[in-house]
Symmetry: C2
Subunit: 761 residues, 2 copies
């Protein structure tokens, strides 16, 4: 695989301007702060191919198109994440021509994302039509310290001339989505105000009525000297600017420091939103650029202290894992209970910036170990807060008595996607939400959460499953008909093994919580207890009789079974080459399905069962979901197929950096990045949590000299390092932690390190 | 069921203006001529609730909306039938106020569709604001004699005053579709020209570039005297009119005779289309209204001579069957090889006016017996002409070597619908097309057609099936995975019995044609012959072991099987009350599926098998497709469940007239009307064609005294009458026809009648 950009331990950078890579670069070099984010679009005008994207967390538009085949119970809309007010804009005009990298000769182009500090910088020279040469440098960031602040430093140096340059510093809310039907405009004008070196634009989303305010201030410097300028103000609908001409002297640097605040009614009242943006930006402007930047950098340093993974001996892997961790923390910080993690984060329009099961299945395991437990708790609370909506959603589908079906895709708790085979049938997501509560509990012992918030969620989910199974007279078993499993290359199948398995487990977990908190309000009814027991002890699971193989669903053996290696290379990925019916009929698996279940409930199965199922399914799996290879990688590590584990890890870790699927221009695969992290921590390091103990069972890829990382476990940070022949665990926390390697189990006391010598790595 | 309008043998009429029924009436009183059609919108302005609809056969717009989940191989568009230029418009203004039935007091309102003559008439009085009273009478028709002509006679009589009235006679192409996304306009301006008492508007469809021209002329009469008037002309984009004021004398009648011609590039060159409309309308105008009307009426008389069914003793049934026959002939006449039969004909926008399997499964049996065989041949040629497109369609889905998959929905041979579970999976349509060729052959002995046109179609279809089956190692049988059967309340099932059955039959039919025409060009290859034989002799058919019951699909017995009578009344129809997943999981059947197969291949099964399957499936069938009850009714007649047969017949015959499904306002269910006809002719009269003989096995519903009708068989028209205790068959043709009743078989010579006495009716 060819590298798209340059390799470095802490940076992604490019040294040449290649317009054909611009959209890819805009995604890869995106910056964000968990609250909003910005693709790496240029500050100055750019007429080349580009996907403009500025996204504000939680702000969406309910898109509806009239189609003939609307079916009863379909959600009313599909949620679109919105391209919002352009806040980066700085227009440069020299001799009446706009600076536009698509139209001038560009030299010495350098763009860098510094993941350590969360800053995007750019530097280039360009030769204008009449031979004038200028150098531009820019730096920008979305503050991780103050989630409503961003800032830009934009410097121009005339290299071989002195002369007038016109600067226009603007906010422009006249933006559209690339995926808008009929180029629909999603924003309505609210107010715009402009003053000298400041301004604000607020606009309102159609239908959803979110108010978003963007305020700016700026200052203008010659080298280190603040200049007193007198710009002209302009405004029109959804737009304000300050513009001025200035005589630039050859060899001197002239800098715009632009401060921006973005606020919305997600977090503020109607009354306060605009005022808060203005207040915020005034404070930022008053404090100054350097302070903002240093606060921002400190926040990143704090994150990295616990979240980093260091890999010795493989710079490419090192860069990749940091890129993944960096993007996850740019997307979600745990500060705001109304936010969650969209599959593309703040890097593109696709998948509507909405919440999927990715959060529970992938992101929660990541945040549980890399961040204080409050971050994961916030994600769980998000679902608790939407329990009533999940119950309403189930009611719409005909379920009763408090059964809850969480949406497949949501912005506010309502289902907001409308493919029936996904929305109505890919119900295993409900299981992942219950499992995340269980997973949180075993990491944190936060019984208070589970008792008051987790328990009702699990009960609602279990009620759904109890009603969703039906009794088959023919089999004398409970069956579950018409589902779509994690493998979305099957639709509307009967008895998906994974779904049946996690549903049965949910029923048992509900019974367990019911017993444990038998004095709490709203227990399960006696009838429910009986029903849950009866169902969970008598579920049909398809299998190949006489073998350890679990069958993905009923009828799987009717397929023409063959290895994915039979697919001609020019027909991969099949989802870009084959018709949907052909994919459905094929045995090829988009992503881990039976193996996803074995991954979650590993201890329920023998090593032989795991290996047999891995060997059966891995050859048929095409991994055309970014969520897939990591699960296979973890299981491959488990059964010590080290080469396979490493090969699968590689598929996930540089998926976006090297644009494996030729789609990175649309945005990054944020949620699957957590899977990459899991491939190392749960896969290679073999970390498991059970019986209040942290188990380790590491392998070391032969391409690496060593790797190390931190994990949180029962609130204690542990530093774990795996070398050629030793495993070192340091308790950096303040309380004992129980750890285990092979047959040895010890209580590791604070500020101590335990080293196991290991063989065979 | 309450009757929506009045009952009469030959008419549908209403005697009161009820604005709440206006959209229903607009559908029911629609008129058309196989080439274009017009909903019963008013000539004068109407500001009440209304669905404006003027549809030109074969003219469509490829609608595309951008959605996130587009899948590979999906068709590019969904075909929309277009509301076209308003040609009925006659604006009446009195004292500067427009005549608008939503705004005046209406008395003595009478609207009538005369099915015998194909005319829509309307008569009413209205009291204007200042007490002025006028009477209006209108009559209009779309000429069945000249498929590009329509005419209107519109008469006003001032009852209690003399005074000026302003007339505006116009054509208006500024029309939209009710189902347009974002109120998109589908028509682009071409030309408009206006002269004294004449004018033309032509407009062009976006994307598809159809040019449609509408030309008009008119004359103005006082009682029977042609008046010389001097109207003003006006024109604007897509609009022309003539307007004039005239002093109307109390008690006298003033009549506009408006002549219209509609032409399109479907039938004319770019160059000729506008000129042809002008020429046509000039000829019509010159000939005069009465001649046009009488030619039109004669054409209908000719149709009725052979197509009528007379029912004695049940006016409601009589009206209903005539309504169904009338609408079918209004929709399709067999004159134009480019046209076919949209599920809503020319009565609404829904289903895109496109061709479905309804044509082969329902309409061809109807036209085969009610019209000269050229009409059915034309429908078969439509598919032959699209064979190359069907091969391309299959190629898009990954099939090879001339395999043909006809589209589920088409305007021009391309698939133009985009629900994967329908488009990619409801492939049984392919079987219906092959079966129609077989059916045509047994009715007509037209071996020339079958040899040169039918055979390649059957081969293409059989090649598709051969590739679509796959070998199941597990079952050691050929299986067909991932299909949707006729019962669309199941999606993506394995081994749908009906689909497997008709596919196997197609393979056998292809082999038969290959043998029969072994000297023809392009025979099946030896490999194909071997493959077809091998597959057709070893197909898996799901069944309940040890019983005569064929199972609709694999896994059907896992369902919670129950009778549709268990569904609470307030949850019917389930497609308006239940979520899609619930419908899919339920055992409830939208329309005949296993029974559809038994209907087609009745002779392959014993009476006991037919009865057992009927008794198994009928209770679970909710008949929420208009195509369903007729098939069940025919089988009920077959197994002599006479009450059931009649009950099911009733569901179909007055479906639209009494608006059973509360949706007639959107348009009529044209194609299923053929099923109603089948319920009588194939059901009650028990007519079958086999071994070159017409078999009869009639029942007489106890509510009827007798019924009679004509059928074509081997080009000979036969008149068949069923009375209480006799069956009479008259050969009205010119050659012998073999007929059979019970065990008696005779050759009926021309101009002779055979009467069988029958018992037990």
């Amino acid at each position: 695989m060819h590298n798209l950009f340059e390799i470095d331990e802490w940076k992604v950078f490019e040294t040449k301007f290649d317009p054909s890579k611009q959209e890819q670069a805009e995604s890869i070099f995106s910056i964000g702060n968990g609250s909003f984010g910005q693709r790496a679009n240029f500050e100055e005008d750019y007429s080349g191919k580009s996907l403009q994207g500025s996204y504000v967390g939680g702000v969406y538009y309910p898109d509806k198109t009239r189609v003939g085949w609307w079916k009863n119970g379909y959600p009313e809309y599909f949620a679109k994440v919105l391209n919002s007010c352009n806040w980066i804009g700085i227009r440069i005009e020299i001799d009446e021509a706009k600076l536009d990298l698509a139209k001038v000769e560009v030299r010495n182009f350098y763009r860098e994302l510094d993941m350590k500090t969360g800053t995007l910088t750019r530097k280039f020279r360009c030769i204008l039509a009449d031979g004038k040469e200028i150098e531009v440098q820019s730096l920008r960031f979305c503050s991780m310290h103050n989630e409503e602040i961003a800032a830009i430093k934009y410097t121009i140096t005339p290299i071989n001339f002195s002369g007038n340059i016109k600067f226009t510093i603007y906010l422009d809310g006249n933006v559209i989505n690339a995926d808008a039907n009929y180029d629909e405009i999603f924003w309505l004008e609210d107010t715009q105000r402009v003053g000298v070196k400041k301004g604000v634009v607020s606009s309102r989303t159609k239908k959803t009525n979110f108010l978003v305010a963007t305020a700016m201030r700026f200052s203008f410097w010659k080298n280190d000297e603040l200049l007193d300028i007198h710009p002209n103000c302009a405004q029109k609908s959804l737009y304000i600017d300050n513009h001025f001409e200035h005589y630039l002297e050859k060899g001197n640097s002239y800098t715009i420091k632009k401060y921006v605040s973005i606020t919305s009614t997600l977090n503020h009242s109607e009354f306060d939103t605009v005022a808060m943006a203005i207040n915020n930006v005034t404070a930022a402007y008053t404090g100054g650029f350097d302070i903002l930047l240093s606060e921002h950098q400190n926040s990143w340093a704090e994150i990295w202290k616990h979240a980093d993974i260091q890999i010795e001996g493989d710079v490419s892997a090192q860069q990749a894992i940091r890129f993944n961790i960096f993007q996850l923390f740019q997307t979600y910080t745990g500060k705001n209970p109304k936010l969650n993690i969209g599959p593309k984060g703040f890097t593109g329009e696709k998948y509507g910036g909405a919440t999927y099961w990715d959060t529970e299945a992938y992101c929660i395991p990541f945040y549980l170990k890399t961040a204080p437990q409050e971050v994961s708790r916030q994600l769980l609370m998000y679902r608790f807060n939407q329990l009533e909506r999940a119950i309403e959603n189930a009611e719409k589908l005909g379920f009763k008595n408090g059964a809850a079906l969480y949406p497949m895709v949501t912005m506010n708790g309502e289902e907001c996607h409308n493919e029936w085979e996904i929305t109505f049938e890919e119900i295993h997501r409900n299981g992942a939400i219950a499992f995340a509560i269980y997973n949180y509990l075993r990491h944190t012992d936060d019984w208070e959460y589970v008792q008051f918030y987790g328990r009702p969620v699990v009960f609602g989910i279990a009620r759904f499953w109890a009603q969703r199974f039906n009794w088959s007279e023919d089999r004398e078993k409970y069956v579950m008909l018409g589902v779509t499993g994690p493998n979305e290359y099957e639709n509307n199948v009967n008895n998906n093994w994974y779904t049946n398995y996690i549903a049965k487990w949910c029923l048992e977990f509900a019974l367990e919580l019911n017993d444990k908190y038998s004095n709490n309000a709203h227990p399960l009814s006696a009838e429910e207890v009986g029903q849950f027991k009866s169902i969970s002890s008598n579920v049909h699971f398809p299998e190949i009789a006489g073998t350890p193989i679990f069958l993905q669903q009923d009828g799987f053996l009717d397929k023409h079974l063959q290895s994915a290696s039979e697919i001609p290379n020019n027909e991969r990925p099949i989802n870009q080459h084959w018709s949907w019916d052909r994919i459905l009929r094929s045995p090829f698996i988009k992503q881990a399905d039976v193996l996803q279940g074995i991954y979650l409930f590993e201890d329920h199965f023998s090593l032989e069962q795991i290996e047999a199922n891995f060997d059966y399914y891995e050859p048929m799996t095409v991994h055309e979901s970014s969520l897939s290879p990591c699960i296979h990688s973890i299981l491959a590590s488990k059964i010590k197929k080290e080469e396979k584990a490493y090969e699968l890890y590689l598929r996930t870790s540089r998926l976006d950096l090297d644009d494996y699927n030729k789609e990175v221009g649309e945005g990054l695969h944020i949620t699957s990045m957590a899977g990459t992290w899991m491939s190392i921590v749960e896969g290679m390091a073999g970390i498991r949590v059970k019986n209040d103990c942290l188990y380790l069972d590491p392998i070391l890829p032969q391409h690496w000299q060593s790797y190390s990382f931190c994990v949180y476990f029962k609130k204690q940070p542990l530093k774990i390092s795996i070398f050629q022949n030793k495993l070192a665990i340091e308790n950096v926390g303040t309380a004992n932690v129980r750890i285990s390697y092979i047959n040895e189990q010890i209580d590791l006391i604070p500020k101590s390190e335990k080293v196991f010598s290991i063989k065979g790595l």
